[in-house]
Amino acid sequence: MRTSRFVIAMALGCAMSCAVTFGADWPTDGGNPQRTAWQKDEKILNKDNVKNLKIVWKIQLDNKPIEMHSLFPPLIVDKVNTPSGPKQIAIVAGVSDNIYAIDVATAEIIWRKHFEYPTPARRGRPTDPLCPAGLTATPVIGPPNANGSRTVYAMAGDGEVHSLNVADGEDMASPFQFGYPNGKSYALNLWDGVLFTTTAQGCAGNPNQMWSVKISDPSHKVMTYSPKSGGLWGRTGAAIDESGVAWAPTGDGRYDPATQTYGNGLVGAKVVGNELKLQDYYIPKNWAWLQSRDLDMQVTPAIFKYKGKELMIAASKECRIYLLDTKAAGGDDHQTPLDRTPLICNEEVNFASAGIWGSMASWEDAQGTRWILSPFWGPSHPDFKVPVSYGPVTHGAVVAFKLEEKNGKYKLTPAWMSRDMDQAEPPVIANGVVYAFGSGENTEQAYPDRGLDDNSPERIHDSTHAVFYALDAETGKELYSSGDQIKSFVHFGGLSVANGRVYLGTYDSILYCFGLEGK
């Protein structure tokens, strides 16, 4: 099938002819292995001009959605040498085992790959949004090799990792088995030549665990670590600290250190020799409460340096943020964070449409202030006090904290809470601007008449459309809103930002590119 038949590129202004490359990449979900979602190299967009954002192009891809999933966050590589010259390329994965390479200057598909494999023997229950078949892990792009070529590592729905040349989509190496067929792997991460992913929900019989493989290992031995309880369903998989420890939340489950069972917490594992071994963990003291109400720790943490220490923020559906030291997460008893916020939302104690979901974000401003960002769903908690806000929050918002330290004591101080967003998703930050979106997704899993009945058709029917926002990163003030321009909702999608463009893919397999006219 010729991909060009499915491309509907919409050029607006001179966006297609005036694009200039500036050298920033977004090579992995969350922007970097630490999952801070901070684009440090953005030079074009700023808080003064983002009010002029517009859709510079959108492209209809031929990816078929599966169980609410469609397009995963685009990866951006600048200055890719292609047969037709250097290009800035967006790599977009679709759940139907598709990889698209798009020239961001022209919105044309440069190459497309569709992974073919025999239908796996097992898959998730049809209509179950938790367990789609197909490609579910956002790919990751490796550093340039000796020739300057970049490789995108993509895991197909059969669990094979394909190593594709970003420039032309050709195989750079033979595929190798990494994951479980239809096992719903989460976003790939790459650190020091080791690929990481996580799994949850036991899709198609897949164990819930952390997975790693050395790319250079000829045998591609798969190394795993299982916390024995809970699923590792942080949206952007594992975040990796400076020691190479991969941190992932473990979701609903039990904590029983006597049996090395670490549900409802955060585990850090590292490749040691040819094994992936637990290095440290954090379990909230109220883990049993979290378990009893299905308030999982399930948010991919963000890792950053602060005053010489490497710190980490994590969160849960309970709607708190935890500040942890990557060298001693939870202190001596593994249960004492450096700080823990009060409840930000979820007064109702709901497991489905409230709480913090997805991943965290963090950035540092020019004055050295460290900012912590979190999305949340549902109404803000009535007892949560924040100095700056923008009207009642009933459907979700982004909340910002400043990290402060005094005499060795760390404190997350509320700074601002954004306007109401319909199911606010993980934000990204670039050049003093926070980019956020309300997914418009229906997130209900239980109903008054039936109880638990999480099903894709009903949720798709009841979903609306995403709205993309730009906010002043220091005040949370809305600088731009896409209003009704985006026509579909987003599930498991996400934002990417680089070189004056912000990208978002929606359920209907349209990739939107926001930017400034003429830039």
Binding site: Y255, N286, D294, A446, L452
Partner: protein, 476 residues
């Protein structure tokens, strides 16, 4: 799904769920279960040692509209507002209230509108109180499910996992209890309103899932409401509201009502054998009735004074009851012949019993209020037959309510009076030793007795306050 289909689905699901009834420490109806043993066999947090260690806490109190009846309890429900641990309590104001018993917050409240041509009784009497008189019921299994797997000894409660090892430490944490499976579909709550209609309510919303059906005459003094096998049973007494005294059964499949009228004899209560036989005691006798039809299978005369209870001793069932002279009987469930007769010497036995089996020795215990104390009988073997042997008696209390048992801990309520507030006591089930008391936590006197579930004990008082004591998961 059409509303009718949803209603049928929920009804079916509730019957199916009843098969798994008390795995999570649920309390299905007044008396706890179909056998009216007033007991919770296992509990993750309430043990003799844990109560001694301070696990019992005053958790919350909520003022309700009307005098509460004993709550029924269900936990781990996946509702449209999240996972909830709910109790359901009916009040004299014809309200049914659902409370998240872990956090002490009302989840929903439903008023059952009066719908009868009879003029509602506004001001009742001590004999014939106005309003809803019967506790609500959940779907009760006829055969109690096996107790959950052992949960790691009898150590004290407290935050699970709190004793985890430090860095480099080598502590010895207790095995962590596992949670019962959450319930995915809404069950049902059965409420008999003062107008005589039976309501089948969605556990998650409090809404009628099918139209309320005429069950008994309005303004009756009904009690012992219980749903067993898609049939709701109730009894009426004292001729209140002109309602004949009797046992009533409504088949929820067709709303057909059967009754066994007892003329001027008030019915005291019901209990079920595991084969479905319904035992009813009256002020003039005891009867074994056929399930659903209420046809008399066997009966025996006597001036009974208590609700019956069905117990099992070495795989054989017996009916326990008492008469106005304080005799305690064990009867054969088929012939209703006396197997054991413990003379009462004119003592006053409380309105119902409780029973539990000690796990290690398999000793069967029977608890009753005798005069002003709680007494414990052991079922023993003597010369090849069984007998009752009084073991211990508690201190005297003010109008003690029938006791209940949770995992070997007996809870007894000194109901109090207009001048003396109620006090809840926890006693060692083996010795009667007082382990804990609620002290001055309860402000008023109680007329509604106690119930339990999910490591908590609930006490309602005359002023409409419901109190919860026990263990709750720490939220912080």
């Amino acid at each position: 799904m059409s509303p009718k289909a949803v209603a049928l689905f929920v009804l079916f699901a509730s019957v199916a769920l009843a098969q798994f009834g008390r795995g999570g420490g649920d309390w299905m109806a007044v008396g706890g279960d179909a056998q009216r043993t007033a007991s919770v066999r296992t509990d993750a947090h309430i043990t003799v040692e844990a109560v001694q260690g301070g696990v019992m806490q005053s958790l919350w109190k909520i003022k309700l509209n009307g005098v509460p009846t004993p709550p029924v309890v269900a936990s781990r429900l996946i509702t449209y507002k999240g996972f909830k641990d709910l109790l359901y309590v009916g009040t004299s104001a014809d309200n049914v209230v659902s409370i998240d018993h872990t956090v002490g917050k009302i989840f929903w409240e439903t008023h059952l509108p009066y719908d009868s041509l009879l003029v509602p009784v506004k001001n009742g009497t001590a004999t014939c109180p106005a309003g809803m008189t019967a506790a609500v019921s959940l779907a009760a299994p006829l055969v109690p499910p096996p107790p959950p797997a052992p949960r790691g000894g009898r150590g004290p409660g407290g935050p699970p996992g709190a004793a985890g090892p430090g860095r480099g430490g080598n502590m010895n944490p207790a095995t962590v209890p596992t949670l019962p499976r959450p319930r995915r579909t809404p069950g049902t709550v059965y409420a008999l309103s003062s107008d005589g209609l039976i309501h089948v309510l969605n556990q998650h919303t409090g809404q009628d899932i099918i139209a309320a059906a005429r069950f008994i005459r309005g303004n009756a003094k009904a009690h012992d409401v219980i749903q067993v096998g898609n049939v709701v049973y109730a009894v009426t007494g004292d001729g209140c509201g002109g309602t004949p005294n009797g046992v009533w059964a409504i088949n929820l499949e067709d709303n057909g009502v059967n009754e066994w009228k007892t003329s001027d004899a008030s019915v005291l209560g019901l209990a079920f054998a595991t084969d479905g036989t319904v035992f009813a005691t009256t002020t003039k006798g005891i009867a074994a009735l056929e399930a659903k039809t209420l046809k008399v299978k066997q009966q025996r005369d006597g001036e009974y004074a208590t609700t019956p209870m069905v117990i099992k001793v070495k795989d054989k069932e017996y009916v326990v009851a008492s008469n106005v002279h304080g005799h305690v009987f064990l009867l054969d469930p088929v012939s209703l012949e006396l197997v054991v007769n413990v003379p009462g010497n004119g003592a006053s036995i409380g309105s119902s019993f409780a029973s539990w089996e000690e796990v290690e020795s398999k000793t069967r215990w029977i608890l009753a209020v005798k005069n002003s104390a709680v007494v414990a009988f052991k079922v023993v073997e003597k010369d090849g037959s069984i007998a009752l042997e009084q073991s211990w008696a508690s201190k005297e209390m003010v109008s003690p309510a029938p006791p209940i048992v949770v995992n070997g801990v007996v809870f007894a309520l000194s109901s109090g009076s207009r001048t003396t507030p109620a006090v809840l006591y926890a006693l060692d089930g083996m010795t009667g030793k007082e382990l804990w008391s609620s002290g001055k936590a309860i402000a008023g006197y109680s007329t509604s007795g106690i119930s339990s579930g999910a490591s908590k004990v609930f006490v309602g008082t005359h002023d409409g306050t419901l109190y919860a004591f026990g263990y709750s998961l720490p939220r912080e």
